[in-house]
């Protein structure tokens, strides 16, 4: 900022406040009266100062902004690094490097690369492109092109005070989001998007268009799989088919295919050999790989629901423990499959849909991935299936299920809220900066995840080495984890630094857990997230941990490489924790739910009790005799029944400290769930397994939760076109008449396990269609409830598969879209190398940067003006006042306007200006002094001249007289005597006290006497000096004025007194 900033225009946010300036004349009028005691210049200054204060305050209220105009330019390059243009990365980098060569020194260049996500690789910086060739970090998620993300990131990363231009290097095959909408936004912001098209064309290509399988099949039925392949040339090859991951044997004649140019269709017949949903995958392998440019698009998937009757799936962590339960169910004719988590295979939603209900028997949350947990929740609420969870030491909250998607669908909350005395756990996280790219990001994500997993009754704390203040700090002090959102926000803001050693933070954690806030915790656990390059803790500290029974788990973040494991492994092993080498970010959530559950041990109750029946009429307790109580149990997991009228709790454990649900159930959206918080046969429920009604009780639970499939018998078909899918229902009744005006409630669950509604509209007689976005490759399940006038006609279930990303289908650039982007935003079409020079052309309107200036105005104008106002009225001396004004002007200019940072001449100018104003103010005060000074000197000089002249005259007179005397005799002596009597006259007393012009008057007197003596001979030397009488009169005037004024005032006062 230089002095020039002052001269730049300003704008106001709310100009209405400027009306306050109307107060200025009023104030001025008032001030003239109230300040009448001051002399005129001071009055003017005071009024001016006050006016400035008012005006500036009005400006502040009006939100004054400084507007800076500049024609500096920032160019952001958006570099497409998706699969389709991977081969052209070098070409793109060359373009940017060449363009950077021509950039003016004040312009800035930034780089964003993108595929599925966008990343800022170079902040907008002056001077060029600084990333060496081939050194851009590996791009994750190249299976998509997301121009929108890049545009949004770029618009956020632009500096605000320059003109802006985007240069998009892409093939235009955008397959996420709506680019043109964001392009219009860019245009609204005045940002043109120049487009550099990336040209390519795949001439030899085969891709799997789709695989079509029937939606439903019976076990043992022969189904037809139809394969549709597109080819550019005649190609020979083989097709392999996998069912649920296993290769299906088909005759060689069917396996071997010859593709003609264009669309090719083949049919393979297969028997359905299982009772579970069949997921088929077909893969085409050309004999000559050269005839197929992209191999990722040579596979397609489809699935078929197998109506295997109502089956239940019992997932167990230990088959021995649950064998009794499975057998009991089978004895009641419930079809049940028991599997351990390892036997589940690809356990996605279609696989889950093979079963009507799923029992999770003492299974910890870490058994399932985050996606599988979501799928389980969707399986219940959107697919209308059942879920039963039983306890054990790894069920419910003790199994790390707190905060999981399943907690939402269960009738109990996994946290305990109704207890007076709550056994707490304490978890301390130690975050160490990770050297690898995005290491700290993942560490933070996991920290947030563990905040969720830890119950709100537990202690949570986070330690990190940070820089304000420098050192090891409790970024989240160890305390009860009640405000999870605030803690997560805080974690986002942490700037994790290089921690020299683990000892210091581990010592802090130890102190807090043993003598600080966490000392009463029943379970204490520490997790260290690190890449291992900090120094090991002392052996003394480690043995302290062992003594205090604080376990430490360590997680090495480095994706299999780049982790210094020795120290991490050592700490975990010695303290009884575990070491995890996280191979990829996807593993982290599971590691964390496993680790965080350590602190949930206190949720277990391991003492015998007899459950009490509180809802004897409950449908789940049918068969229980009145007054009969179920057998005792030896343990359970503490939970809290949800406060919802749909939640029924027929069995409880009653204690003096409240009631804990043992059995709770409800219907949640389309599905039904049951929580049985005991279990863990035979350790806790040994008496139950011997109870004669055990089998019946469990069969009742399973049957109640089982999904009720009353399928509406309509034809459906689905079709995927790019990013859109179409679902069509043909509704005919038994008599083949069209069913019109049906209502559909449809939910579509994609590969991300999120359910979204689909809207069906009637497009013809008995024909209904819905369109939906299918942005991810994978399987989509559609669940449609069909209603006719409020009556449910049944459920319709279908599915569709997006075999691979549309990214792998792009055979040439989408020129039309690219041109449209350029046209929409007023950008240019930069095709070919010659266009590089145009990138930094300054043909954009100058940018305006508005900066709020009220703080500046307040501190550098209001304050000085206010002080000036005080100074004007209070500082008695005008000299002091002038210095005050001078200093203030200097301060405002030098510091406020930043002139001190400017060139020397601006500093000198400010100084000069301040001096000028200062001297203007003190001039009236200084003037008389100066005048008298100059006057005295002048008069003395004149006096000298005069005396010489007088002497000359004297001499001439004497000569003349002597001549006369010589002519007349004795008179000469007399004349001499008269001449000898000429002496300096006495100094007149009347003038002695007057200022400094003593000598002047004396000279006058002397000259006057002389002239008298000489008989007016001085007349010629008098010019320039005033006659003494005139001077005297003038000099006395102010004194007389003052005296007479005082006299007059006295008389007036006396008169007024008399009048009273």
């Amino acid at each position: 900022m230089t002095v020039l900033a002052l001269s730049l225009p300003v704008e106001f946010e709310e100009p209405a406040w400027l009306w306050l300036m109307l107060l200025i004349p009023l104030l001025a009028a008032a001030a003239i009266r109230s300040l009448s005691g001051l002399d005129a210049p001071r009055r003017v200054l005071a009024v001016m100062a006050r006016s400035v204060v008012i005006a500036v305050m009005a400006c502040c209220l009006a939100g004054v902004q400084r507007v800076r105009r500049t024609d500096d330019l920032t160019v952001m390059f958006l570099m497409d690094r998706s699969y389709s243009v991977q081969a052209l990365e070098g070409q793109q980098e060359d373009f940017i490097r060449e363009a950077a060569k021509g950039m003016p020194p004040k312009d800035r260049l930034g780089l964003i690369d993108f595929a599925r996500q966008a990343f800022l690789q170079q902040m907008p910086e002056r001077g060029g492109y600084y990333i060496p060739a081939g050194r851009l970090p590996t791009m994750p998620g190249t299976d998509r092109t997301n121009v929108t993300a890049a545009l949004r990131l770029a618009m956020a990363a632009f500096p605000h005070d320059t003109a802006k231009r985007l240069v998009l290097l892409s093939d235009g095959n955008d397959n996420m989001g709506d680019v043109l909408a964001d392009a219009r936004r860019a245009r609204a912001d005045g940002i043109p998007i120049d487009v550099v098209p990336l040209w390519y064309e795949h001439a030899n290509e085969v891709y799997f268009d789709r695989l079509v399988a029937p939606t439903y099949a019976e076990p043992g039925e022969q189904i037809s799989l139809r394969m549709i392949l597109q080819s550019y040339k005649a190609v020979a090859g083989v097709v392999d088919i996998y069912a649920n991951g296993e290769l299906v044997e088909i005759p060689e004649s069917q396996r071997r295919v010859r593709l003609a140019p264009g669309s090719n269709s083949f049919v393979v017949k297969l028997p359905v050999r299982s009772t579970v949903t069949q997921s088929y995958e077909a893969v085409f392998r050309p004999d000559e790989p050269a005839l197929d440019a992209i191999s990722l698009n040579n596979r397609a998937r489809a699935f078929t629901f197998v109506s295997g009757g109502s089956r239940a799936l019992l997932i167990t962590s230990d088959p021995n423990q649950d064998r009794g339960l499975a057998e009991a169910l089978r004895s009641e004719q419930v079809a049940v499959d028991m599997k351990t988590s390892e036997q589940l295979g690809e356990f996605d939603l279609p696989a889950m849909m093979s079963y009507g209900t799923i029992i999770l028997s003492n299974v910890p949350a870490a058994t399932f991935t985050e996606e599988q947990q979501k799928a389980l929740a969707v399986y219940v609420k959107d697919m209308g299936s059942g879920l039963i969870m039983t306890g054990g030491d790894e069920g419910f909250g003790a199994g790390g299920w707190i905060g999981s998607p399943l907690e939402e669908v269960m009738p109990v909350s996994f946290e305990i809220k109704h207890k007076r005395v709550i056994p707490r756990g304490a978890l301390v996280l130690i975050m160490h900066s990770c050297e690898i790219a995005r290491g700290n990001y993942w560490a933070k994500e996991m920290a947030k995840k563990s905040v969720d997993t830890v119950s709100s009754q537990d202690y949570f704390g986070l330690l990190a080495y940070t820089y304000s203040p420098g050192g090891e700090n409790w970024e989240v002090p160890l305390d009860v984890n009640t405000n999870k959102d605030a803690v997560k926000k805080k974690i986002d803001r942490i700037q994790v630094g290089d921690m020299p050693d683990f000892g210091a933070t581990m010592q802090m954690a130890f102190t807090a857990l043993t003598s600080g806030r966490g000392r009463d915790a029943a379970q204490k656990h520490v997790i260290i997230l690190s890449d291992g390059d900090a120094s090991a803790p002392s052996s003394q500290l480690v043995s302290d941990y062992i003594k205090a029974k604080i376990t430490v788990s360590t997680i090495g973040i480095g994706w299999g490489n780049h982790v210094m494991e020795t120290v991490l492994r050592d700490i975990a092993q010695k303290t009884g924790g575990r070491y995890y080498a996280a191979k990829n970010p996807k593993q982290l959530p599971q590691i964390f739910s496993k680790e965080s559950k350590v602190v949930r041990r206190p949720l277990l109750v391991e003492e015998p009790f007899r459950p009490s029946v509180v809802l004897p009429g409950s449908e789940l307790l049918a068969g229980l005799d009145p007054g009969e109580a179920p057998p005792p149990l030896n343990g359970m997991v503490l939970t809290t029944a949800k406060q919802n009228p749909n939640v029924l709790v027929p069995l409880i454990r009653s204690t003096s400290d409240g009631e804990d649900p043992v059995l709770a159930y409800w219907q949640y959206e389309l599905g039904k769930t049951v929580a049985f918080t005991s279990g863990f046969w035979p350790a806790w429920g040994e008496a139950w397994t011997r109870w004669p009604k055990f089998a019946k009780f469990w069969a009742q639970l399973v049957r109640w939760t089982m999904r009720q499939d009353s399928l509406a018998n309509f034809d459906t078909y689905t079709r995927v076109e790019g990013n859109r899918a179409r679902i069509v229902i043909d509704a005919l009744d038994k008599d083949a008449t069209y069913l019109n005006n049906l209502m559909q409630k449809a939910r579509v669950v994609g590969p991300d396990n999120r359910a979204v509604p689909a809207n069906f509209t009637q497009t013809g007689p008995g024909k209904y269609e819905a369109n939906l976005d299918v942005e991810r490759a994978g399987q989509y399940l559609v669940n449609v409830q069909v209603y006719e006038g409020g009556r449910n006609l049944g459920t319709l279930r279908t599915g569709l598969t997006v075999p691979f990303s549309p990214e792998y289908r792009d055979l040439k650039p989408n020129e039309a879209l690219l041109r449209q982007i350029a046209e929409t935003t007023g950008g240019r079409w930069l095709d070919g190398g010659a266009a590089r020079g145009d990138v930094f052309r300054h043909d954009l309107p100058p940018s305006e940067a508005k900066q709020p200036a009220w703080e500046w105005v307040l501190s550098w104008l209001v304050l000085p003006a206010f002080l000036l106002d005080v100074a004007v009225r209070r500082l008695a001396s005008r000299l002091a006042l002038s210095i005050c004004v001078e200093v203030m002007i200097l301060v405002v200019l030098l510091v406020g306007a930043g002139v001190h940072a400017g060139p020397w001449w601006s500093v000198a100018g400010a100084l000069l200006f301040a001096e000028l104003v200062g001297w203007t103010i003190r001039y009236p005060y200084i003037r008389p002094m100066l005048e008298s000074l100059t006057h005295g000197v002048r008069t003395m000089a004149h006096a000298g001249e005069r005396s010489e002249a007088a002497l000359g005259q004297l001499k001439t007179t004497r000569e003349r007289v002597r001549g006369e005397r010589l002519a007349g005799g004795e008179i000469a002596e007399e004349g001499d005597t008269r001449g000898g009597a000429v002496e300096p006259p006495p100094i007149p007393l009347a003038g002695a006290g007057r200022r400094f012009d003593v000598g002047d008057e004396a000279a006058h007197a002397a000259a006057g006497d002389l002239s008298e003596a000489l008989g007016g001979a001085m007349a010629s030397g008098e010019s320039g000096t005033q006659p003494p009488s005139a001077r005297k009169g003038k000099d006395d005037a102010p004194a007389e004025d003052l005296t007479s004024r005082l006299l007059r005032a006295k008389k007036r006062a006396q008169r007024e007194k008399k009048d009273e």
């Binding site: 170079q122 902040m123 910086e125 002056r126 001077g127 060029g128 600084y130 990333i131 060496p132 050297e435 690898i436 790219a437 820089y467 304000s468 203040p469 420098g470 050192g471 630094g497 290089d498 020299p500 050693d501 000892g503 210091a504 890449d531 291992g532 390059d533 120094s535 090991a536 002392s538 480095g558 490489n561 780049h562 210094m564 020795t566 120290v567 050592d570 002080l867 500082l875 008695a876 001396s877 005008r878 000299l879 002091a880 210095i883 005050c884 200093v887 203030m888 200097l890 301060v891 030098l894 510091v895 009236p924 005060y925 008389p928 102010p1038």
Partner: protein, 310 residues
């Protein structure tokens, strides 16, 4: 003309105080800090830094700085960029140690690749030694390199392998100098190797917050320092340098300051405090005396180098 009562001295004093106050609140903290200059700011542009961590002064008057973008940049004594080069690999991590050989070669402790790379003055790699491991001629996260008057090379490392090893001028492994407990405490992250005028080796036992003086044969001559923020106390000393007066300059990463010690361990003075302004430091990894007697401080979190007239 009426001359008002004139309490000249009082009023002028008030005015001066007022002006000085306004002026001072803007600028006072920077005076007397001794900072002569500063160079670098956050960025990838030449002359910018992304978390610089090590500095070395070339006896010919330039200084070299390595940062977390894996670049080694050479600057003039006043901070003008001369040139630079890049580390061959940076995915696993970046170097934290840098030393200039009297013959102009640059030794880089390529910490996360467990080796020392040797470059000629122009940045051409002319040698490398060490590999990952805990045996002889192997390293675990080497932090610092020093060269004695006879050309022997000394390397410090940590991560459970906390020791100092001695190498011949021909880059051959010779012996392990310091390993095992000193005064009852095992070495924890030795770093900041430097030779003084008597050809004894000083280093910082960073996580024990102390300094150690070794003979060239590995005998322990002196140790001093303990954790704290007072004079004579240390918080993660990360780098050492010998002043022209033969005192010891210590850069405290955790203390955000510099401290000078006599060879006997007496604290002579401290400089700096936490912050972002000039004269303030945030996580400084290294400080070194330049050939002109000024001190260059790598102010890591502020991504800059401050030049101090000590």
């Amino acid at each position: 003309m009426v001359v008002p009562a004139f309490h000249f001295r009082r009023e002028v004093a008030l005015l001066v105080a007022f002006g000085a106050g306004l002026w001072g609140c803007e600028r006072a903290p920077l005076t007397d800090s001794g900072v002569m200059g500063v160079f670098g700011e956050l960025g990838l542009a030449p002359g910018c830094f992304h978390y610089p961590r090590a500095i070395a002064a070339d006896p010919r008057g330039t200084v070299l700085v390595v940062d977390k973008s894996g670049r080694i940049q050479r600057f003039t004594a006043t901070g003008g960029l001369v040139g630079g080069w890049r580390m061959p690999e940076t995915e696993a991590g970046k170097p934290v140690g840098l030393t200039v050989h009297p013959d102009g070669r640059v030794f880089v402790a390529d910490t996360h690749y467990h080796r020392v790379l040797v470059y000629d003055a122009s940045g051409l790699q002319v040698g490398a030694f060490g590999s990952e491991g805990t045996g002889d001629a192997q390293f675990q996260l080497p932090t610092s390199v020093a060269i004695d008057a006879e050309g022997f090379i000394y390397v410090a490392e940590y991560n459970g392998n906390d020791r100092i090893t001695k190498w011949s001028a021909g880059l051959e492994f010779l012996q392990t100098l310091a390993v095992g407990p000193i005064e009852g405490r095992s070495l924890s992250r030795p770093t900041g190797l430097v030779f003084d005028d008597e050809q004894t080796l000083w280093f910082a036992d960073a996580c024990n917050h102390r300094l150690v003086r070794l003979s060239r044969n590995g005998e322990i001559l002196t140790t001093f320092g303990r954790l704290g923020r007072g004079p004579g106390e240390l918080r993660y000393p990360y780098s050492l340098s010998i002043s022209p007066e033969r005192t010891l300059l210590v850069c405290e990463y955790g203390g955000d300051r510099l401290q000078w010690f006599s060879k006997e361990g007496r604290s002579l003075r401290t400089w700096g405090r936490s912050g972002r302004r000039l004269g303030e430091l945030s996580g400084p990894w290294a400080a070194t005396y330049g050939s002109n007697g000024t001190v260059y401080i790598v102010d890591s979190m502020n991504s800059r180098v401050q030049i101090l007239q000590p």
